[in-house]
Each structure stands twice: as C-alpha cells, then as structure tokens.
Amino acid sequence: MKKYLFPLTLLLILGLAAQSCSSLLDKAPLSDLTSGNFLQQGVDAEAVLAGAYDMLQSEYYIFDLFTNGDVISDNCYAGGDNPNNFQLDQFRVTTTNGNVQRDWGYLYEGISRANAVLDNVPDLVDPTFSDTRKAQVLSEASFLRAYHYFHLVNLWGGVPLVKHVVTSTDPDIVQQPRATVDEVYAFIISDLEFAAQNLPLSFPGQAGRATKGAANALLAKVYAHQPNPDWTKVSAACDAVISSSQYELLASFDKLWDGTANNSKESIFEIQFIGSSPESNWGVQLYMPPSLSGDGWRKFNTPANDLVNAYLAEGDSVRYKSSIFWEGNLPWQDENYPGGLVPFPNKQRKPSSWSSPAHIMVLRYADVLLLKAEALNELNQTATAIGFLNQVRSRVSLPNTTASAQADMRAAVAKERRLELAFEGHRWFDLKRTGTAIEVMNALGFSYQVDANKLLWPLPQREMDANPNLVQNNGY
C-alpha cells in the first residue's frame, strides 16, 4: 500500500481541484483486484489460468465424475450412505438432488473461470508475454471450457451457453435460456479446434497442462458423443493423437494405477495431485477398504456383480486384478455381496487419510485407440479397426478378438471399453451415446425402469427458480 500512497495523495489533490465532488466519490476502489482490472502482465494471465485449472481439483472431477460415469451405469453400485448417490444409481433423481445441483454449479464455475481468461487475456499488453504463449493460454482455457461443457451437455442436454464472464446481476443478462444440444456441441468443437491448433505437443516439465493431444483426444470423444456422430472426424482426431508419436500403451496395465508412472506415455490429460492439502485427491478415501483406508464405514462406488462377471467371462485376469480389490471381514453388510467378500475399485490407490497423491487420468491413449477402432468399424473398415482393438487387448495378454462382422465388432469394442476404462468415468456416457443405455440397464433386473427421459438429469430446482427462462427436461 505504501508505494501507492504518494500517487493516491496526488490524485486526491488533483481530484479536489479539478473535479466535482460526486465524480470524486464515484471512483472505483484502487485497492480492489477484480478479474476486470488486474491483468497487466503475463504472470497475471498465468495466475488466472491457474485458477481455471484449479476447478479440475473440485469435487466434480475428484468424486462426482465417477458417480456419474460408473455408478449410474452397470459398473458400480452407489455404496456409501448418501441418499443423493442412491437416487442417481436407482434412476429416481429429483430436482433437488444435491449432486445434480452442485455439479451444475461446479461445471459453470469452471466455465466462468475459463471465461475470465478468455475475456481478459486477449487485450493484455506485456512485451515479455509472447504472442505464442498468449495463444497457448487462451487455448488451455478453451480446452477447459470445452471439457466442462462436454460434461454439462452429456448430463443435461442443451444448457445455457455462457460465453463470457458475467459481470452484472441484471436479470436480462443472468437469466439465459438453454441452447440446443447442437449449439452446445458446435461451441465445444470450436473451442477444441482452436485449442488443437495452438497448443504444443507437450509442455516439458509442466505435466497437467492441456496439450494438442488432449484437445484432439477430447475432440474425438466429442465427435463420437454428438447426436449424430461424425465418425470421419472421430477417426481424424484419433489419427492426430496417434500420429503425434507422443503416446503409447504402457507395457504394464497395473503401473497406470500404482502411482509409479504418473504422467506416463499413455496419459493424455491427467489431473495432478501431490498429496497434501489443498492438492490432495481426497476421493480415494471414499472407495478404499478398511485395510487401506484405516476407517470402517461403508465405501462408495462398489463394483457391480455384472462388471465382475464381465471380467471373469472374458478371462481378463490382468485388468480384473488391477481394477478390483477384494476384501472381507468388513464392519458392514453389503446386500449385493452376501458372501462377505466385497469388491472395491482399485484404479486410485493410497487413500493416505484423505490426502492421496493419486492422479486422475481423464484422457488416455487406450481410450483413443478404442475410439479409433470404433470409428473405423462404423466407417465400414472393420478389418482395419480390428488391429486397434487388438493393440489394447494384447497389452493385457488377451487373445485377438474373434469378431469380424461389423455388428460383432461394435459389441466387441463396447465390451473392451467397459473392461479397459472401468471406474474412469466413461461407461454411462458410452452407453448413452451408443444408444444401448436403456436396454443394458433394464436387463440388470433391478426394480427401476429406465426410459428416454431418465437419460438426462433434471435441471436443479434452484436453477429453475433463479432463472425463469429455463425449460425443464421431460419427465421431471
């Protein structure tokens, strides 16, 4: 403050001399930093960008991602003791479900923070802040914004497209109506294409940043998830990742999860943790059994019998052992495992009393190879597709696929994705985009009946109340 004292005093004197009283009183507070006035140097831009990345360590990506991707699907039971998670698992979600409300909030907060970069960095003039770096910063923010919107559109369908930081509370500005699903996808794609163009292949020594590979991998997923998948573009985006020579499958599947190979050659986008607050992955404590977590309450995201059986039926012992940890003599009863031995997801380890250093890999090379196989198969190039599928299988010592017809290959890829990517937050979204969600879930024999309405969440009641321009999803 001291260094501003002289100019401030001078300003006051000049102000008194030259200006009327009311304009003097209307001055913006000099001591307040707002997202609008503090970007003066490159380091400021980096700080705002770091704030945008920080949302990857929010509850959404630490915990809810796996509830949404695996618990809702046939991979996991809710476990734990949270009524919200049971609602989601059993397809009786209400407009006041706490997860539904908070996830909407987390994702839009992430979007707002990315928008703070995208709104303010372009006009920043600092000779030490190169145009190249500026374009990268904007691209990293674009990637993050696209990633949040990708989750929003998957969970809710068309959502309000907030493209700039909201700096007003005017109802006309804050009460945005929903965009269509196609509009949201178009926006995501334009962000990702911009990012893919400007991001470098890697940031040496700076793991965790969005790279060209991350943008292309997410583009491949986005083209596959949009209402009418564009398989040519999925294939091309996968090619951009594959031909970049940045990525390969790790020889050992287990090494992906044991904490010894963070930011490996297989990892395309990985959320970083160092294991001390606030950089802790506290989610691991929620999944791991008493022998590892040191506590005795019922754990979340219990692997489903259907998934266990899928591993066994495939003879997929490598991934089965790496993905699922069994433990008995528990201080609770699990109605799904009356025998007493209960499975636990094992892809994030070392709970470390809520301070796990376990990274969360949200995009990895095996996902891209399987998307490539799927795209080629849909483009009637089944014979070529088989090679990509077999790459993934041979790494875990499984024989080549026996599928050769297009329909068989489609089923083979879907099964492979499930076994390869279990507990990584993909399954429910894969089921939805392939149009198999209703059939698969209703075949499990639970009391619920899934219909088309239940494939999307309700908009939170709180949001509907605060924004009368929203229209609720069908069935809620």
Partner: protein, 317 residues
C-alpha cells in the same frame, strides 16, 4: 397522537407510519450458470406501514410503594412494491439439498414462504400427499405456492416496575403473534431419509397399510420427497416471553452506617426466563439468515438464545 389523562397517570401515544423504501440493495441468488452464487441487485421498492400504540400508567406512586406499567403494541404490514416488473420473482432462503423456501414477489411481503402444500399422510402408502395445484395429474415444481408468512400480525411488550419498602421488582413480557416459522430443522430430524438420529416424534411414523398418522414412513433416500419444502414444516411462531426480570433488596441505612457504606443492595436478575409458545423448535425467536431482509423466519439447527440468571451485590461508599 399523544394523550395524557388523570393528571398524567395514564399516558397514551399512537403513531401511524407509511414508509416507502427505494433502491434497496439486496443480495440475490443468481443462476449458478453465471459461475457465481449470488450478487447485489437493486430491488426497487418496498413499503412498510402500520400502527404503534403505547400506554404508560402509574397506578401507585407513594413514598413506600410504587407500581408503573408500560405497554406497547405495533402492527406492521410489509409489502414488496417493485422488483422490476409484474411477475418478477426472486427466490431465496435455500435449504440444503431442498431448493428455496422463500419467494420475493411484488404484492407479497418480504419473508413469504413458498413450497408445496402438504395434505397429510396417505394411510395406504405412508407417503405425504401434496396438492396438485395446476391439476395436471403430476406433482412437480409447478405445484408450489405461498405457504406462510414470517411477519407477525403484531408484536407487543409489557413492562412493570413495582416497589414496596426496600424491595423492587422489574419484569418485562414481550411477544409476537401470528408469524410463521419454516422449521427446516425438522427436515433433518423428521425427514427419515438417511441414517442418523431422528426426533422422538418419528416413533409415530406410518409403518403399515392403514396407519393413520401425520408422520410419513421412514425410507432411505426419501424417494417420494416427503421431506421437501412444504407446509408440513410451517409452524406458528407466536410466543410470549418473560424477557427480563429482576428483584432488588436495598439494605436498611441504619445497618450500613456502621460500615461507612452509603448504599447497598442485593439483586437477582434473569433473561429469557419463561417462554410460552406452541412452536416445536428450540426457540421461536430465530432466523438462520441473521440480518437478511428477505429470508426471514427460517430455523435450521439455529442456536437458541440462552437463559441467564445473574445475582449480585451493589455497594456505594
């Protein structure tokens, strides 16, 4: 208007006021799609009008005895006049995992509760029945309406001061009448949706077909949302309270002179000594949201006021 009767033994004061407040800055909940939870908005105009009536009486005023009473009562009516156009609504008073409980709307008072209308427990299913306000055959967020008002019909107070020889007794009763409280604490203690302690009132819950009770069934996760924001949790918040009382005894001067003490009194006094209310929570005089001007009368695990009793000796040399 002021009036004094019987040589000033009765003094009456009355006031009427009509106050318009413009350009209120209110912290409003924003759509979360903004990335922010709330922000300041200029709320337009509210109106407060009402009567205040005060009576002071001096029943006894002698050397060795005295008794005076002061009574007041006030009737305030509050109304939102303008929040940016007819039909504009602002919701506030969020209950965790249950949406909002308060609506701000033109023509309604600040502190209006909004939610579903509970119509009791269905003896067949044990679930709450809610009123289908728009008769569309389903119960959803469109079936909410005004379910209560946190503003009292009137507030009142009576204080008495009685002295007799060396004793003096002062006490004050105070109360409010006709206000509603949204008892959100009961959502947690009577919701029966998760594994935790519950209120003893849940012993009366529905347990089998045919049970007639006002307490719905216990079911994990509350699939039928029996514990949603509804008139089930609206309670009458009226109360009368012995706000303060004190009894003082002054020791005789003849006794004190030996010790060069000019004056000595012994007293015992207390606050919040008695409360008369039908409200089921800890304290009818609560507001979770503190000084909020829009979110009034919500009890959500809110700490009750303490009852204090103080005793002492006052000496003058």
């Amino acid at each position: 208007m002021d009036l004094a009767l019987f040589s000033g033994k009765i003094v009456l004061t009355t006031d009427y006021y009509d106050k318009q407040t413009r350009d209120l800055l209110i912290n409003v909940n924003l759509p979360a799609s903004t990335g922010f939870g709330s922000g300041l908005r200029n709320l337009g105009q509210t109106q407060n009008r009402g009567w205040e009536l005060g009576i002071n009486t001096f029943q006894v005023d002698k050397k060795d005895a005295g008794w005076s009473t002061s009574m007041n009562i006030s009737f305030n009516r509050n109304k939102v006049v303008d929040i940016g156009g007819e039909g504009s609504e602002i919701f506030t008073g969020a209950i965790p995992e249950n949406g909002f409980a308060v609506i701000v709307k033109e023509g309604l008072p600040l502190g209006t509760f909004f939610g579903y209308v509970a119509e009791g427990v269905d003896p067949e299913t044990g679930d709450m029945t809610f009123k289908d306000l728009n008769n569309d055959g389903q119960i959803n967020d469109a079936d909410r309406e005004v379910i209560g008002n946190a503003n009292p019909d009137f507030i009142w107070g009576i204080s008495n001061s009685v002295r007799f020889k060396s004793f003096r007794l002062d006490f004050m009763f105070q109360g409010v009448q006709g206000n509603d409280i949204f008892n959100a604490t009961r959502i947690e203690t009577e919701g029966m949706f998760s594994v935790k302690n519950a209120s003893a009132t849940t012993l009366n819950r529905w347990q089998q077909s045919g049970d007639v009770t006002d307490m719905p069934r216990a079911i994990f996760g509350d699939p039928m949302r029996n514990a949603r924001v509804s008139s089930r949790f609206i309670e009458d918040g009226s109360y009368a309270r012995l706000r303060a009382a004190s009894l003082t005894y002054s020791l005789p001067q003849s006794l004190l002179n030996n010790f060069k003490i000019s004056h000595m009194e012994v007293y015992v006094s207390g606050q919040n000594l008695l409360t008369f209310t039908a409200y089921s929570g800890y304290d009818p005089e609560v507001n979770r949201d503190g000084n909020s001007s829009t979110s009034l009368g919500i009890d959500y695990g809110t700490y009750p006021q303490s009852r204090t009793i103080t005793g002492g000796v006052r000496l003058e040399f």
